[in-house]
């Protein structure tokens, strides 16, 4: 396997839409979260992105896109600003995605036409009249794989792919593993790993009391490139792998990494804290609970910190998985 660099990062989250520098600093979510008009009393993390119009060739394409798809397109557009990133037909694309997009309010017309005066569902009316009230484009908003497909189409990425479903950070770290393995194994010169989620819909917000952190939307896209690929701005951050582990010593051992003082541990999804360093940092404190996007945002934050002068030398990204942890490692390469 060839070594794989983190070569570019783009994000769309409560801190803004742009490059990796948006994820530097430790300001909490409350410092950057604009209120949502219909839920002004709730702290939620909405990305300051009206829509992804500036990233797509034709605005009419937006009609087919959920909010999560648009966030994914914005984050990817920011990541790909760093250079031409050619050979796109061979470039891989691996995204973690969450529950279906779409807003349940869009079904109001269908329900109105499909219920009895007593308020009961009438399947005969649904078939005869209700379905005609459904926007034919609804499927493009609700299919889980659509963020990946829209990113592929917008940026011409035609290589290996996977849309990995997740409710927390594990799927995003799995997406990164697939992207790194694809590039390291020689299937194309570069690949993109990312994730996108927009949980700021009516139902999720109404149920927010069940969450341990404020809900937030977000997306991140990270370009993995081969060492020998002529990236315009090759990063100094190297992917060191992904392992299942129950504690940091066994994770470091499985990753064949020696313990070191300049280790930074970033978590998402509330892994069991007993074995974590006292100074570990939960992503939720910075960005809120970004669900399926959190693995990609972990990756982006880790790469951002490693890439800054004087930053840590090794970042361990930890997510709960199967009662233990999924641990990814990024390392700064001393040039």
């Amino acid at each position: 396997m060839m070594r794989v660099h983190v070569a570019a990062v783009g994000v769309a989250c409560a801190r803004g839409v742009g490059g990796a520098s948006l994820l530097l600093g430790d300001a909490p979510l409350a410092a950057c979260a604009p209120p949502l008009p219909q839920f002004a009393s709730l702290l939620v993390g909405r990305a300051p992105l009206a829509d992804a119009g500036e990233y797509v060739p034709q605005r009419k394409a937006l009609k087919l896109m959920s909010r999560a798809s648009q966030l994914a397109i914005a984050a990817t557009g920011e990541a790909l600003r760093s250079g031409p990133w050619d050979a796109r037909e061979e470039a891989g694309l691996f995204l973690s995605v969450g529950m279906s997009g779409g807003e349940i309010r869009d079904l109001a017309g269908m329900i109105e036409a499909s219920t009895t005066p007593e308020g009961e569902l009438d399947l005969a009316a649904l078939g005869a009249r209700g379905l005609d009230k459904v926007n034919p484009l609804l499927s493009f908003h609700v299919l889980n794989n659509m963020p990946l497909c829209h990113v592929s189409i917008t940026y011409g990425l035609g290589g290996p792919h996977a849309a990995l479903y997740g409710e927390d950070a594990a799927a995003g770290l799995q997406a990164a593993h697939h992207a790194a393995a694809t590039v390291g194994g020689g299937e194309g010169p570069w690949a993109l790993a990312g994730g996108a989620e927009s949980p700021l819909n009516t139902i999720a917000l109404a149920l927010q009391h069940g969450h341990r952190a404020p809900l937030a939307e977000g997306a991140a896209s990270v370009v993995f490139a081969r060492e020998d690929h002529a990236a315009p701005d090759p990063g100094l951050v190297v992917w060191r792998g992904l392992v299942h582990a129950g504690d940091l010593p066994s994770a470091l051992s499985a990753l064949r990494l020696p313990p070191r003082a300049d280790l930074y541990c970033l978590t998402a999804g509330h892994p069991s804290p007993a074995q974590l360093p006292a100074d570990h940092q939960p992503l939720e404190a910075l960005l809120g609970d970004t669900g399926a996007a959190s693995g990609a945002l972990l990756l982006a934050r880790g790469a951002a910190l490693l890439g800054q002068p004087g930053g840590p030398g090794l970042a361990l990204l930890v997510a709960p998985c199967d009662g233990a942890w999924l641990v990814a490692a990024l390392q700064r390469e001393e040039s």
């Binding site: 279906s100 005969a124 649904l126 889980n144 189409i153 990425l157 290996p160």
Partner: protein, 409 residues
Amino acid sequence: MSLAVITGVGLATPLGDSLDILSRRLLAGESAVAPLRHFEASTFRCRVGAQVELSPAEVARASSETGIEEAALWLDRKLLLGRRAARAALADAFPGAPPAGPGLSLGLGLEVLFLPDVVALYDRAARDLGAARVPQLGRRFPVRLPLGEIARQLAAVSGARRVESFVSACAAGAQCVGEAARRVAQGEEVVLAGACDSMLNPMGLGCFQRLGALSEREGADACRPFHAERTGTVIGEGAAFFVLESAARARSRGARVYAEILGYAASLDAHSVTAPHPEGAGAQRALRAAWERAGRPRVGYVSAHGTGTPANDPVEVRAILHVLGDVPIASAKGALGHAMAAAGALELAAALTCFTLGQCPPTAHLDHLDPACAADHVTRARAFHGDAVAKNSFGFGGQNAVLLLGAPR
């Protein structure tokens, strides 16, 4: 050299849950497409589907074991189908005790809206579906079985760990098997791979109807891949799971090997979410890469994606002819319907017939070939000649996945 071998098969299909029965019914040209029984669909424009029988006893037992209410299990049927197939695959591969903690690679379909919950949210005076009534529903949610819950339940029923869930629409069934084969090639001992899906519910059927993707023809021949008068696909449902391990491991324990997975590749059309690339460029890339990774074997059968929609079929045939030449082609969807995320896995099981019985399953109802789809179509069961079988799966939105299978050695 193979990525992995298949040593266990577990099925829940509209033509039976045994591989041998499925194979023989496909070879006989049977179709499972029939009037819908799951719900009252008489006013829908499409009123047929390929359905799997579920018994009240099975639903009650699953409800008891999972704590999930029976109504949710009846509506969102993919968990029950997946449980049945996952258990059967492990039992097939390991008649004694299965190994502890196999990996799990899943292909999953879309969440299902529980319409009574949506109706309960509806404020008729305001003509709005808002949050105001959510407290009345408590923790209930219009999606009673989120995909994460389905993955957790399938991991629990199979004792599996290290779960990956692929949601690449209609490509998911082949993709989850291909990615599992890679995991085995990278060193995992045993990976259970499979997909389960059912869109045979009012919203699932309704959304595909609104897209214009469904045949409105009545009867068992409603879905006619490659036919000159095809008008669309028919929704099916089911699950197929496979136990994958290395050839060396299978040999050392004397396991039955159904097939070797010789190659796998995935590609993206990067063209349109509403239509396939007109020349099938993405499909060609995936097919070529999988075939070359498999060592360019002599392909004796292509299990096509073959949806029976006007747009898909000729594009796929062109891609196959371009990469593999004039090889025998068939689609199982005329018999099994389109099981969406599970389709690739179900059709992979059907394609194993080439190795288990030495016969190629035909495309059902193909009595008038579309000239735009001209190729060597398997219209009746015929002997399999070749070294490998290709399985194509193409997802809505332009996701392609192709597997190359070899006969067990």
